[in-house]
Amino acid sequence: MAAADVSDRNAAFWDELCGSHLANQIGVTDASPESLARFDRAYLDLYPYLLDYFPQAAVKDRQLLEIGLGYGTLGEALARLGADYHGLDIASGPVRMMQARLARIEGAKPEQVKQGSALAMPFEDASFDEVAAIGCLHHTGDLFGAIAEVRRVLRPHGRVVIMVYNRRSLRRALAEPRQALARRRDRAGADAALRARYDASASGDAAPHTDFVTASELRGLLHGFGTVRIERRNIDPVPLPLVGGRSRDALLRSGADRLVGLDLYAVAER
């Protein structure tokens, strides 16, 4: 698929906010402050480690760009922590959501949230002190190009927090035998089914493009940054009650996700 094609399909796919499944689950159907607060609580319960990657000292009064906005939980939290918040998303839905959220925060600037591509960001070189991209860059169709862009807009000694999917996760390992068979029958269909396990719309469509990387590969991708720390986070419940199945919470508490987690969080300094 050509890059421009992926971008067009991404703009359509991600217009349905990432997080819509969760919103449906907890019965959030509108964007009132109460509903969004309820969504944010549920979201941060699911990813209890997320805000740890954004200590106030690293965020407050700094020019921060978030790429890939989804339902906007993180963006609103960053703006409330006192960041000079800028947002970018390829789809209009998340942009409008974030603008609506920022409009309710004193001092925040909704006009700093824009629609645009992570592969050609509408910002000058060295514009930001911090860039956050949680679960976004692996969907752009050009992970390398996206990281090059992040590096371009970041100031020297700027900080990035990037989350991308771990290719060596327990989920991938367990799915692999079946996936290998399915790929022999219908490669495109099997790949789409796998992508849908990570990102699917309400109608069941898979995200147009998803890259999976290992921690070492991510370290290579981030070679242009000075110090890099990579952590594995997030895990599926193990649904095997007979052999002592574990809930997601119990697994997160035990630290199993730090070994075979779904998501790679990289914190790097330029």
Partner: protein, 295 residues
């Protein structure tokens, strides 16, 4: 690129020195130091060893023969079909063996080097190749290639990009100047080589026992790229295979091979480089990573 382990005397001379290791990557002073260092052609140690001191046709032919005997797999990475009639850029020229071969294969050869010496050498070589264009060899930085986007069908860079101080940007630049479908061939040093695994701890222990000596990392760099007078390349990155795979995730169908290996210097039980390579040990713990990928 290392041609052979530098003479023992020179190595010791280097080991006795304390080298301030404070370069600032990406600044002009660093580029100047890189240009100064690489102005002495990469391959000079080998040339001295075989007694080549001039750039006459006969001398260079002798150098090239020795060079290709050291790296017998090198030409296998440049299949004629991929080059004839195509536009090719080589980055990092050294003594010019590979560049001249490429030009003789009928590729439209362009060359770039940060230093003056290798540019002059490659121009002199191309002047002797009919149809080649010495004016297409220029001095410039791999971090800001003086070419428009999508200018080349091939980019070749053997043992160079890890010295630029910004490997990521250097790779991004090769990608920028390649046409869609274009082919990248690059060699960078393997971080997981037998040399680093065996020599690293020894040198670290030595550094601990005698704190006045350079660190293991600095000494290792000398073994990779050291001048006879003890100078060492201003910057060298080492990457593992998975890291290189990540760095090249902007390319399709990437293949990475490990190549080249040190001899095992055990006196009368010495095992030569060639013997080790025949055993295929370099494919497991080799010094150099050769990557081929397509834009």
């Amino acid at each position: 690129m290392l041609d052979e382990a530098p003479a023992a005397g020179a190595a010791l001379h280097y080991l006795e020195r304390r080298v301030p290791w404070s370069h600032m990557v990406g600044d002009a002073a660093f580029d100047d130091r890189n240009a100064a260092f690489w102005d002495e052609l990469c391959g000079t140690n080998l040339a001295r060893e075989i007694g080549v001191h001039d750039a006459s046709e006969a001398s260079l032919a002798r150098f090239d023969e020795a060079y290709l005997a050291l790296y017998p797999y090198l030409l296998g990475y440049v299949p004629p079909d991929a080059f004839a009639g195509r536009q090719t850029l080589e980055i990092g020229l050294g003594y010019g063996t590979l560049g001249e071969r490429l030009a003789r294969r009928g590729t439209d050869y362009h060359g770039l080097d940060l230093a003056e010496g290798p540019v002059a050498m490659m121009r002199a070589r191309l002047a002797r190749v009919s149809g080649a264009r010495p004016d297409q060899v220029v001095q410039g930085s791999a971090l800001a290639l003086p070419y428009a986007d999508a200018s080349f069908d091939n980019v070749v860079s053997i043992g160079c990009l890890h010295h630029t101080g910004d490997l990521f940007r250097a790779v991004a630049e090769t990608r920028r100047v390649l046409r869609p479908g274009g082919r990248l061939l690059m060699m960078v040093y393997n971080r997981r080589s037998a040399r680093r695994a065996l020599l690293g701890p020894l040198l670290a222990a030595r550094h601990r026992v005698r704190p006045g000596t350079p660190s293991a990392e600095e000494t290792l760099r000398y073994f990779y790229d050291g001048h006879a007078d003890g100078d060492v390349a201003p910057h060298t990155d080492f990457v593992s295979v998975p890291e290189l795979r990540g760095l090249l995730s902007g390319f399709r169908d990437v293949r990475i091979d490990r190549r080249s290996i040190d001899r095992v210097p055990l006196g009368r039980f010495e095992v030569s480089r060639l013997q080790l390579m025949n055993l295929g040990l370099d494919r497991l713990v080799g010094l150099d990573l050769y990557a081929v990928g397509y834009r």
